[in-house]
């Protein structure tokens, strides 16, 4: 489909730079306007449960331990012990060395259908040799990861070495192959805060999709600017346009900084109005978050009981 675009370094550059530009002010205004949508009653209840089911419940700390990961898994499977109707999260997101622990914990808690996602490729900086990144990826896949969240080489991207970034994504995608013949799903993280411009976010989106990404993801959560409604909107437009141009359907994952139910609902409104039904599913849209789940549960309790809830009534990780 897009073979011409990736035929050479020059062709790829020409293609990416030929994408329509993004006017930052207009983009942010549109994202802000959609943020004023007022979601009430049944629509809100639906949105909260949908948001919970889209969470990649995440812990990515140097201080992570098996105990911490097991607690997180338990919460992912049973988010609200007082209300079993609350849906499970989509996945637990951890470092590669915690993948096996997470898988065991999820299975033990009755969460076989909850995925394990692992960051890889020298997350979060991505500053390692390709061989190391691939080994990192294979390690996580071998340990049972269903999804790999890789980071792109922002240095290569910013210095215009698009083909290098493209080849690296391809190689990681190949490294996602599992023994059972399936592939771990590949999420490609751009680190929008470091790409700096929306034009770059749009180019990175196309670059990743051309290279085989199953998902495109805003950020690592480790830098100052992570997911914003505006940079997520650019990515939503990119997956929409990619499919309209004959490409695959690709998922989107904003990550970092989404902490409240109100925030999450704004993102769902963005998805709803930009992409519609086809993407309103955990297969196609995810939230990378840790504290978000707690607020969604409090809002859920408020809708169920009519009373405002408090942090004492939701479990900590």
């Amino acid at each position: 489909m897009f073979a011409d675009a990736t035929a050479s370094d020059t062709a790829l550059r020409r293609f990416l730079h030929g994408l329509p530009g993004v006017d930052a002010v207009g983009l942010e205004a549109r994202a802000a306007t959609l943020g004023t949508r007022s979601i009430k009653t049944t629509a809100k209840a639906f949105a909260i449960d949908l948001a919970i089911s889209m969470i990649d419940l995440t812990t990515l700390e140097g201080a992570d331990t098996p105990g911490k990961v097991r607690a997180l898994c338990a919460k992912g499977v049973v988010p609200d012990p007082t209300d079993r109707t609350a849906p499970k999260v989509a996945a637990i997101c951890v470092y590669p060395d915690m993948v096996a622990t997470a898988r065991q914990a999820l299975d033990a808690a009755g969460g076989r259908d909850v995925h394990v996602a692992s960051v890889a490729t020298a997350f979060p900086a991505g500053r390692a040799a390709l061989s190391v990144k691939l080994a990192d990826t294979r390690d996580a896949v071998a340990a049972g990861a269903d999804e790999i969240d890789m980071v792109i080489d922002r240095g290569a991207f910013l210095s215009g070495r698009y083909m290098q970034v493209f080849e690296e994504i391809r190689a990681v995608k190949e490294a996602c192959a599992r023994e059972d013949g399936e592939d771990a799903h590949l999420k490609v993280i751009f680190e929008n805060g470091e790409l700096a411009t929306y034009d770059n976010v749009r180019r990175a989106s196309w670059l990743a999709m051309l290279a085989g990404a199953d998902f495109i993801k805003t950020s690592t959560g480790k830098v100052a600017v992570n997911a914003t409604p505006a940079n997520t909107l650019v990515m939503l437009e990119a997956v929409r346009d990619f499919r309209a141009a004959g490409g695959r359907q690709v998922g989107v994952k904003p990550a970092g900084g989404i902490r409240t139910a109100k925030d999450a609902i704004k993102y769902l409104v963005l998805v709803n109005e930009t992409l519609g039904d086809d993407w309103l599913h955990p297969d196609w849209f995810r939230f990378g978050a840790s504290s978000l789940l707690g607020d969604l549960l409090m809002q859920r309790q408020k809708l169920t009981t009519g009373r405002y809830s408090g942090p004492d009534y939701v479990t900590v990780d």
Partner: protein
Amino acid sequence: MSPIFEYAPAPESRAVVDIAPSYGLFVDGEFREAADGRVFKTVSPSTEEVLAEVAHAGAEDVDAAVAAARRAFGPWSALPGSERAKYLFRIARIIQERSRELAVLETLDNGKPIRETRDVDLPLVAAHFFYHAGWADKLSHAGFGPDPRPLGVAGQVIPWNFPLLMLAWKIAPALACGNTVVLKPAETTPLSALFFADVCRQAGLPKGVVNILTGDGSTGAALVAHDGIDKVAFTGSTAVGKRIARTVAGTAKRLTLELGGKGANIVFDDAPIDQAVEGIVNGIYFNQGQVCCAGSRLLVQESVHDELMEALKRRLATLRVGDPLDKNTDIGAINSAEQLARITELVDSGEAEGAVRWSPACELPERGWWFAPTIFTNVTQAHRIAREEIFGPVLSVLTFRTPDEAVAKANNSQYGLSAGVWTEKGSRILAVADKLRAGVVWANTFNKFDPTSPFGGYKESGFGREGGRHGLEAYLDV
């Protein structure tokens, strides 16, 4: 749009606004009935519900209001500018305090979505008073000489599309410069001006400085023809503007006119396409297209026509038409049956002349006056829908091949109020904006307003500017 994520209704509460069953004229600081006792009804366009009965001012009432304004002029113009400023600051603050109430009121009386009255009209109204308040004691620094004088009594006639905002555009600079005013709001949207009278009361504004006369076209005609006024400011149709220009010919009355438009929104093939789509939508569907500076003619470079139309239609399918009080409504009601008839007539002519009509699937409420957002493709310069102001949610799409052709088509109009340019190439923006014969050019944006930014037209879109330092000239003897 997703049927699995259908937003539940989110209506703004009507309880914040208390509409009385009837209103008088606001003359000399008091509400009074019309001298001949005539009244008319104002109706909510989205429900056809009668909101209130309003006094209909006749010639005698115009006399009284002008006389009151004349009496107030001496002391008001003699006040130190810093004192006039404080009254205007008070008004700005009270409007901010009462903005939710006024937004709901405006939506009820006008039919426009609460999202717009809340996020656009009311913030701009307050900002306009705040901005002009600051000028009142700085007029000697405005570039009109060391001690510029006010004109006297201003007769001001405003339209129904932005009732309170147009009031602010008229009253704020007039008062800041030391004039007193007699203002006539539009027949179909009198209420917010009457509520503004109450804001003046709360602000302690001296009586007679602001007088509000409700009525129809005959009231406005009597006001602009009155011998006792020194200045006429009118916003409305070009046809009425010409009549007024004839009326004041040979008199000493100063005149500024803010009239119709047929704004060209030019999209080049290198435009930021997603933002251009938003700009087109905002340009023609904002306020149901009932905007004098609407981007009602879309000029698209032929090479991106199909792509842009597809994106635009996809976007239009997500517009929510319906109850203006619902916070999720994008497109509200048409202001009156008369306006709806005019839109319908022009749209029919577009079809008859061979343009291709398209609207997204949308259910329109049974009661009230509604028109679905509409796009006409295959439009040529010769079609009525490419030349006449429709003042409704109807976009006429034309194509061009070269920048020169775009400019030539854009300028080929009796009007010259607004234009838009969409391109990522900075030098092209500057070159095209320079050649457009329009008072406001929006580059990679549309329908943006600010009290510091002068607004007004070329050619038959009127003369004079409103806003900014430039706007003061209309109310000073310079």
